[in-house]
Amino acid sequence: MITINTLFYLSGLLAIVASIKVVTGKQTIHALLYLVVSLLAVAVCFYLMGAPFAAGLEVIVYAGAILVLFVFAVMMFGLAQDEHLHAPKHGAGQWLGPIFLSVLLLLVLIIAISNSEIQQVLIPKVIDAKDVGILLYGPYLLAVEIASFLLLAGLVSGYHYAKPRQAMQSDDNFQVGDEI
């Protein structure tokens, strides 16, 4: 029967599969959509874990804004051709080392998690936006301010970097003095 647990595991599995598809994808747009799926699945997980506000933000900000930005960028570049040129060669050597390393990392993480005697079980009580807000504008006020500055910096630098320049040419003679 469908329980919260099964739902959680299902969406977790979905997130994992979608993430794998993101990493191994060849088509940029497809990979992006898989990422969206992964994010939505994670959002479901959040909701099931009793964090509906985070789930909402995950969808609105992550899936709805950040990834749209990605899609927008991809559409602007017309990256499809480029991706085919530089797609990873699916030789075993390309993937072997990283996967070995990652499996090792995963093993270490899992061992660490299982050894640390975490007995907690998620309590199905909803922590709603109000709690988060109270905390955010109480003890975390400074963090909020810093985050706002971070966003401002991101805004300014994003504008600066993406500003088109007349003299921008595709020459490879990148010089130290060049403005980026």
Binding site: G56, I60, A129
Partner: protein, 328 residues
């Protein structure tokens, strides 16, 4: 949530089925309503042949569309091409899940209902963007990019404009928001918020005058240039459902949902009042379409970021200040 199938769950599923099966015809009917109204305002007849007064025009259109070849362009990205209209329709339909139609009717009483609505609205962007991308044609791509830029921009103000409502009612739950307006509709205190929400809503649903992603005169049809048949119908459905949704949300957020002032509320059942209000807004949307010219794209974005955003922020600020001062 119980592990067994309860009568509650069955009732819920039934409710969902009924609402969806009602919504789609309503959206279809809106096409006829729109055409008729435009006709009337433009001093002509509009579709009036099929059925009494042309009521069955939409049905006829549907039949025509179903009879068409379901053509997918060979140069397109097939999966996405098919997926795009589906996303659009589904996202809008999902949004209706949180809309409280009346005290008893409503699919889900989600405690983050408003957020859910915003989330679905933001997901709806993918429909347009992907359609533009998957079509692999320049008009579609340009339309898609316009849609992405426009939607992402206006989503921000939409979110900000409804925050005033959240501030005053103290909840994301739409039912609670409606109930909080028992003493007076929020349009009194949130007039600016309502205006912003309305404008953003028009932009979100790509209605005139903000239909630049599908501007017929310059982009032939924007992101759905390459679409035809049932897939095109899905886009159309999505658009009219979107109009309905925005109207419904306006009613819920600013005009007290099913609530009516004291002498009037007893006259009709709440659901009817709700539908009347929504229809009022739908008609308003249609009127808007006929009466306003289309701006340039850069004007649209500049208007958004330079006028709407400061306005929304000011509104939020003022609301917060008044709330803090105990005035509201």
């Amino acid at each position: 949530m119980n592990t067994e199938i309860s009568a509650d769950m069955i009732w819920k599923l039934l409710e969902i089925g009924v609402i969806i099966s009602l919504l789609i015809p309503i959206a279809a009917m809106l096409v006829w309503v729109e055409r008729r109204l435009i006709g009337i305002w433009q001093d002509r007849h509009g579709p009036n042949r099929v059925g009494p007064g042309g009521v069955l025009q939409s049905l006829a259109d549907l039949l025509k569309i179903l009879g068409k070849e379901d053509w997918t362009p060979p140069f397109s990205d097939k999966k996405l091409f098919i997926l795009a209209p589906v996303i659009g329709a589904v996202a809008v339909l999902m949004s209706f899940a949180v809309v409280p139609f009346s005290p008893d009717i409503g699919v889900s009483d989600l405690n983050i209902g408003l957020l859910f609505f915003l989330a679905m609205a933001s997901l709806a962007v993918y429909s347009v963007v992907l359609a533009g991308w998957a079509s692999n044609s320049k008009y579609a791509l340009l339309g898609g990019m316009r849609a992405a830029a426009q939607t992402v921009s206006y989503e921000v103000f939409m979110g900000l404009s409804v925050m005033g409502v959240v501030l005053l009612t103290g909840s994301f739950n739409l039912r609670e928001i409606v109930l909080a307006q028992t003493d007076g509709w929020l349009i009194q205190s949130q007039f600016i918020g309502f205006i912003i929400f309305l404008i953003a809503g028009i932009a979100e649903s790509h209605r005139l005058p903000f239909d630049l992603p599908e501007a017929e005169t310059e982009l032939t049809a924007g992101f759905h240039t390459e679409y035809s048949g049932l897939k095109f119908a899905l886009f159309f459905l999505g658009e009219y459902l979107g109009v309905t949704l925005i109207s419904a949300m306006s009613v819920v957020l600013f005009f007290g949902g099913w609530l009516m002032p004291a002498p009037l509320d007893a006259l009709l059942p709440p659901l009817v009042w709700f539908i009347i209000k929504v229809l009022f807004f739908v008609v308003f949307f249609i009127l808007l379409r006929t009466s306003l010219p289309r701006p340039r794209f850069d004007q649209l974005l500049a208007f958004g970021w330079k006028v709407m955003l400061p306005l929304a922020l000011l509104n939020l600020l003022a609301t917060a200040a008044l709330k803090l001062g105990g005035i509201l």
